[in-house]
Structure formats: C-alpha cells, structure tokens
C-alpha cells in the first residue's frame, strides 16, 4: 500500500510540475503578446518602408502572385480545356512577333478591314458612353467604351487594372499584363471559343453570367471580365485603344 501511495504521490507531483511549467510558459507568452500590442499601437509613422521600398515590394508581390496563377493555370485549367486554345494563342503570338513589317500598322489595317465588313456589329449593345482614360492609369491601352450605368470604381496604377461597377453590383474589369507573364484564364466548366478582337485572335469564355476575353497586342496581354451580355463585352474589348 505504501509503495502504491508513494508512486501516486510522485505521479501527482510530476503532473503538478508539468502544469506549473505550462503556466509559466503561458504567462511569458501573454506578457510578450501584450508587449507587442503596445509596440504596435505606439509606433511612429517613420517606422515603415520608404516609398521606393513599398513600390519594389509591391512589384515583387505581383510577380510572385502571377507566377502562382500561371502554375495553377498550367496545372488545372490548361489540361482540361485550354490546351488547344493556348496553342492557338501561342501560335498567334509567335506569328505576331515574327512579323517583319510594323505589327501595329498591320493590326490597324486589319481592324479597319474588319470594322468595314462588320459594320452592323458595331451597332450592337445597349448604348454607352465614350469614356476618358482615368488620370491614374499607367497602362498602354484602355477601353474607351463602357456601358451606361457603370461608373469607375477602382484603378490600380501599379498593376494596370481598372474596375467599373453598376448599382446592381455587376462589374467590368480591365487588366493589362506584360507579354512575359500569364494570367489565370478560367475555362473550366465554361463555354470557350475564339473570336477576333481588333484583328487579333482572342479567347472568349462564358461562365455563370460572366464573360471573359483575353487577347494579345504588340506588347501586352489584355484581359476583360464583364458581368454583361457577350455582345457588350465584345464591344468593350473592341473599343480598347492605345493611349500612350
């Protein structure tokens, strides 16, 4: 009996010691948490990155996020439905860069030709406004046509993104990417086809009421996402103009 009792005592002491150790660790942890809280609340505005530092980090963040998106695109979307479409775009892009003549002049000529023979198409849409380019916009291109009811909601000058919204919460998003970068163009469970936008071959995807169009210019990929009918989205894409 004595031995059992002594063993029980030893176990309880050991358990108590473990609990005291945990208590001590917890108290130190609480103390550090409160110290950090006080430091966080009392920091001066000077204790942060320089403007140049912020710009550099934001650029690095964008690059890393795009790389993640490309990896995700290559692993998930591409195997499903995008291989052919991507090949079409790639072939188109290779052909574009291999052109000897001025690509811009070729594209404009083709655009004029297309606009000439598809005049009826330009009359589509529910009416809209010719919009000015926002002063913060740093990209090369911008849509000059935005449907009525949509107002400018957001412009990111660093990442060349503009967003319009209407009172129903529908959005129009326009983004410009460097040619060396990729974007997540979701074609999973969506209807995908190719169309011509300003003489360039473009991918158009429709899913859950959202229309996405992606196409390449001389220097950029342009991405348009619209909560609008297909024809309206095409009209917006066709209005994209070089603004630099």
């Amino acid at each position: 009996m004595k031995k059992t009792s002594a063993r029980q005592d030893a176990n309880e002491t050991s358990l108590t010691e473990d609990l005291y150790r945990e208590l001590e660790a917890l108290k130190i942890r609480i103390a550090f948490a409160e110290i950090h809280e006080a430091e966080w609340n009392s920091a001066s505005p000077n204790q942060q990155l320089s403007d140049e530092g912020k710009r550099r980090v934001l650029k690095a963040i964008d690059k890393r996020l795009r790389r993640r998106k490309y990896v995700h695109f290559a692993k998930t979307t591409l195997p499903k439905a995008g291989r052919i479409a991507a090949a079409v775009l790639s072939v188109f892009f290779i052909g574009l860069t291999a052109a000897v003549a001025s690509v811009r002049s070729v594209r404009v000529s083709v655009l004029n030709f297309i606009m000439g023979i598809e005049e009826a198409y330009t009359e589509l849409g529910v009416g809209g406004e010719m919009r000015d380019v926002p002063s913060e916009w740093q990209g090369e291109c911008y849509p000059t046509y935005i449907p009525e009811g949509f107002t400018l909601d957001y412009v990111d000058p660093i990442f060349a993104e503009a967003q319009y919204a209407n009172s129903s919460g529908q959005r129009i998003i326009f983004k410009e990417y460097e040619l060396s970068e990729y974007t997540n163009f979701d074609t999973e469970d969506s209807s995908v086809s190719t169309i011509a936008i300003q003489g360039a071959e473009a991918l158009i995807s429709e899913k859950d009421g959202r229309v996405s169009i992606i196409w390449a210019t001389d220097d950029h990929y342009l991405l348009l996402r619209c909560d609008t009918p297909r024809e309206t989205a095409i009209q917006i894409a066709e209005s994209v103009t070089n603004v630099k």
């Binding site: 130190i28 942890r29 430091e39 990155l49 530092g53 980090v57």
Partner: protein, 174 residues
C-alpha cells in the same frame, strides 16, 4: 495579398529593423517575408487578425535572424555560439526555481522582459512567444540544441533577477 502588405508592412519593417538595425536590410526582409507569406497563403487565410499579426511578426523575426547569422554579423549575437563554457556550466532547467516567474504579475513580467538584453529577450520570445522548439531555435541561430538549452536557462535566470528587482521596486513604492 496587397491589402495584407499595406496593413502589416510597418510591423514587418519594425520587426526586421529591430534585429538588423539596417534600413536597407529591413526593407529586403519585408520583401522576403511577403514572398514567404505568398508561399504559405493557405496558412495565412486560416488565421484571424490577431493570430495573423503574430504569425507575420514571427516569420519576419526568423528571416531577420537568419539574415544576420548568414551575414556573419555574429558580433551582435556573439554569445549565441557553441561556447564550451556555457555548455559545461551547470545550467540546468531543474535548477532554476520557476516559482518567481509563475507567481509574477503579468505587468511585472512585462517590465522584466523588457529590461533583459535584446539577445535574451529574443531567445525567450522565440521559445515562449513563437513556441519554437530548442531544435528550431538552434537551426535559426546555427548553433547546437544543447547550447540553446543552456542559453535559455541563463535567460530565465536573468528574468528571475529582473522580476525580483521589479518586485522590490514596487514594494518600496507602496
């Protein structure tokens, strides 16, 4: 992620600067922290705002210490070596009476922690604040786990002394 950067860039910078004491290095480390957060977005997304702040501070701290160690600026952390005198000393967890720390008021503990040397505070911060194991701390400082144990014991002993001082000061005022 951009919003996260704007919300926490000051915290990342201050944490990195506290350890490196160099403006340019602190900025580089903020960038490195952001890259690490992007690579662990699945973890970041699961955290509420309070834990997220601690997580970000912890990542910045680890990267900053790694940076300082790799750049061989050991003078700032000269005691964090595999010093045979420390290893051979009778620093043993069981020999340190935990009673004072355990019974101390949180306010007293805070004052005592802030009175420690920066190196010892950093060690205790990693151990108790970030809940790093001795092995992880050893990897961060590029020393042996045994050395970490000895240095932690020394730090806790100093913490006890600071608590004692603070208790006497408080008692003297009453």
């Amino acid at each position: 992620m951009t919003n996260l950067f704007w919300d926490y860039q000051a915290l990342m910078y201050r944490t990195a600067y506290r350890i490196t004491r160099e403006h340019q290095s602190a900025e580089d480390l903020v960038q490195e922290t952001c890259m690490s957060l992007i690579d662990h977005l699945d973890v970041v997304k699961r955290l509420d705002s309070n834990r997220l702040r601690s997580y970000i501070a912890s990542v910045t701290r680890n990267l900053s210490i790694n940076y300082v160690v790799k750049r061989k600026r050991r003078s700032r952390y000269s005691f964090l070596t595999d010093d045979p005198d420390v290893l051979n000393s009778k620093a043993d967890d069981e020999e340190v009476d935990s009673g004072l720390i355990r019974e101390a008021e949180i306010e007293t503990l805070k004052t005592a922690l802030q009175a420690l040397s920066e190196k010892e505070r950093l060690l205790l911060e990693l151990k108790y604040g970030d809940e790093k194991s001795n092995a992880e701390i050893a990897r961060i400082f590029a020393i042996k786990a045994d050395s970490v144990r000895s240095y932690l014991t020394k730090a806790r002993r100093h913490l006890q002394e600071k608590i004692n001082e603070e208790n006497k000061r408080t008692a003297g005022r009453q």
